[in-house]
Each structure stands twice: as C-alpha cells, then as structure tokens.
C-alpha cells in the first residue's frame, strides 16, 4: 500500500486519491507507449529517462485537474506530447534543423542512415526519421505508429481530420518508400550472398 510520508500528518483528500489512482491506471495502461513517445523526442538514453520522468510527473500533476472533458487517452497523450514538445523547443540548435513532413524529401541523402538490415537497424532508421521532424508532424507520426485512428489524432493535436489524413497519407508514403528500399537492399544482399555460394 502507498504511504504518503511527505505530507506528514495531513490527511489525503479524495481528489488526491483519485489523482493517484488515475496516475497508476495511466502508468499501467500507457507506460510502454509513453516510453516509446519519449524515444521519439530524445535519443540520448540519459536525457530520455529525464524526459520520461518529467512526463510522468506532469501527468500526475495534471490529474488533479482532470474533469473528463475528453477521454483519458486524449488527456494522457496531450500532456505527454506537450511536455516532450517543450523539451524539443528548448533545444534551439536542434529546433532550427527540424523539417516538416512536406519537406522531408529535401533533406540531403548524406544525412540519412544506412539501409537497415534488421529490426534494430530498422528501428534506428525510423527513429532517425522521426527525430528530423517538427513537433506537430512528430506527434502525428508517433500516433500513427501507435495505431491510433484519424479522429483520435485530430482530437489530440487539434488538426482537422482532413489535415490529419493528408499528413498520414504523406507519412505512409515516406515510410513505405523507406522500408521498401530496405527490403530491396536486403533482397539484393541476399541474392548476392546466394550467388556467391
């Protein structure tokens, strides 16, 4: 059972209990998603852990104000994305280099990572792509990768459903291309290996 030693003899109010239980439910249900979300905003493991901690802290604080005006999922993702976006905006050098999903093709090829061969490399490639995007596009791509539908994305981001679907369409094309390149390269590699035998 949780003890609230920090508060000393003060009684814990019903709101605080509900705040705690909401947080516990969220950590249980969305823990892995929040971890992946933090990965989309910060590659460095140390900094990522700090960011994740910050997200959890802000979520817990925010539950004191949760009035069910939107679903818990929307609330959780809004807070998490807003905290993570703040983290990106504060890093000016990084912020200045970010591109929108519409301009992602114009990024020089030399910036791109090597063609991926396995799951880990594929993930690195995907993360590298996400890290180049501006916060709003990053929110959309992360939501898409998490398997959300267009309406949920629209509710979280505040973009119109038409805009969301346009962006998702663009993201799908970029990802398809990136992953087709991978399979093509893999195939070529495998074929080469086969012929060598």
């Amino acid at each position: 059972m949780t003890t609230f030693a920090v508060r000393g003899p003060e009684p814990i109010s019903a709101e605080e209990v509900s705040q705690d239980s909401l947080y516990e439910q969220t950590a249980e249900d969305y823990g892995p998603s929040l971890d992946r979300l933090a990965r989309a905003y910060e590659l460095d493991p140390e900094a990522r852990r700090d960011l994740l901690q910050e997200i959890h802290l802000q979520l817990w604080r925010s539950f004191a104000y949760f009035d069910q005006r939107c679903s818990l999922r929307t609330w959780v993702y809004r807070v998490a994305h807003n905290v993570a976006t703040g983290h990106v905006i504060r890093q000016r050098r990084i912020r200045d280099r970010l591109v929108s999903i519409e301009n992602i093709e114009t990024v020089p090829a030399s910036d791109q990572v090597e063609f991926a061969v396995g799951q880990t490399e594929a993930l690195e490639r995907l993360s590298a792509l996400i890290q180049r995007l501006k916060p709003l596009d990053r929110q959309i791509i992360v939501s898409y990768l998490e398997g959300m539908d267009g309406n949920s994305m629209s509710e979280i981001t505040g973009l119109s459903p038409a805009n969301v679907s346009m962006k998702v369409h663009r993201i799908k094309n970029i990802l398809r291309r990136a992953f087709q390149e991978r399979t093509f390269e893999e195939r070529r590699f495998e074929e080469g290996g086969h012929h060598a035998k």
Partner: protein, 205 residues
C-alpha cells in the same frame, strides 16, 4: 481508415510493427515518489530564482557603490540607470524560474495550441527584446556614463582609443551578432506560427 489491420497481425517489416515491438523500460513512480519529486522541483526552482536575485543584487551593489563614489552628475545618472537595469533583469529572470501553475493549460490545450503558444512566447521575446530585457535602460545608462568621459578625451586621441576602443569594439560585435540573430529568429518563428494558425483556422467549426 488508419487501422487497416490489428497491430499483432502486421507484417514484420511494417514500420508500425517495428515501432511497437521495440523494447521498453518499465517506468513507474509511486505517488509518494511523485509528491517528493514535485516538492524537490519546486524547491529547486525557488533556489534558482533566489540565486538569480542575489546575483542581480550583487551587480546592483557594485554599480551603486560606484554611483556613490562618482561625483559628476551625468556619470552618476548613467550608473543609476545601469543599477536599476540590474534589478529589473534579476526580477525578470527570477520570474522565469519561479514555479508556476502551467499544468491545467498544458493538459486542456491541444498539442497544436500548446506548440503555437510556446513559439509565440519565444517570438514575443525576440520581438520585444528591447523592452523585455530592459536594453533601453542599459544602453541609455552606458551612454550617460561613457559620453562625458569620451568628450573629455577628445583632445587626446591616443587615450581615447586606449580607454574606449575595446569597449566600443566589443559592443559593436555584440550588436552585430545579437540583433540580426534575434530578427532572423523572430521571422522564422513567425512563419511557423502562421502555418500553425492556418491549421487552426481550418479546424474551426
């Protein structure tokens, strides 16, 4: 539309499957830890704010002491203005560190609104840097302090160069870098804000 098939049925090379199958850390804090963390954070912010105020006051005291020692009117006025500027700067900076109550906004705003307002804050600072950083006070104070000495040294050009040359060179370099940088930053932010506003307009019922 987006969920064409459930996650567990996605092909192995599908980006969504790659994303969802990454190893994640089991991260969870107890309510007790969270309370302690929140209190620590608040304490840290207050300490940072207090340090900033102390630093500002120390610089203020330095200029105020010089103010007392100088007897000519114009340099005294200059030093007075610079001292006031130190206090203003300490106040502005400590405001930034003082723990605020941003959470309800952060949660109620859509990510688009929240992102735009963060950018707007930065744009406004870049746009009103003269007012926000109290640069007018600082420059006026410096000018009032330096100009009488400068006029006096006009008869001895070598002395003028030695006394004021390095100061003006550094000031010119700083101005040449700082103001265009602020201008560029402001323009970039403005462009992005306009893009976000267009998205918001489209979503208005």
């Amino acid at each position: 539309m987006l969920n064409e098939f459930p996650m567990n049925e996605l092909p192995a090379n599908d980006p969504r499957s790659v994303w969802k199958n990454q190893t994640t850390e089991a991260f969870k804090m107890s309510a007790d830890q969270l309370r302690r963390k929140a209190q620590q954070r608040q304490r840290k912010s207050r300490i940072e704010a207090v340090y900033t105020i102390i630093f500002g006051l120390m610089v203020f005291v330095f200029f105020a002491r010089t103010f007392v020692r100088v007897h000519e009117v114009a340099p005294r006025m200059g030093l007075g203005l610079v001292s006031l500027w130190c206090i203003n700067l300490a106040y502005q900076r400590s405001k930034r560190f003082w723990p605020g109550r941003r959470v309800p906004d952060a949660a109620l705003d859509t990510t688009l609104q929240s992102y735009r307002s963060e950018l707007e804050k930065r744009r406004d600072y870049a746009r009103h840097v003269w007012r926000k950083a109290g640069l007018g006070f600082l420059f006026l104070g410096m000018a009032t302090f330096v100009v009488p000495g400068l006029i006096k040294s006009l008869d001895a050009p070598r002395l003028l160069l030695l006394n004021f040359g390095p100061f003006f060179v550094l000031l010119a370099i700083w101005c040449a870098i700082f103001f265009p940088m602020m201008k560029r930053q402001q323009q970039k932010l403005q462009q992005e804000i306009e893009g976000l506003r267009a998205f918001e307009r489209e979503n208005r019922p």
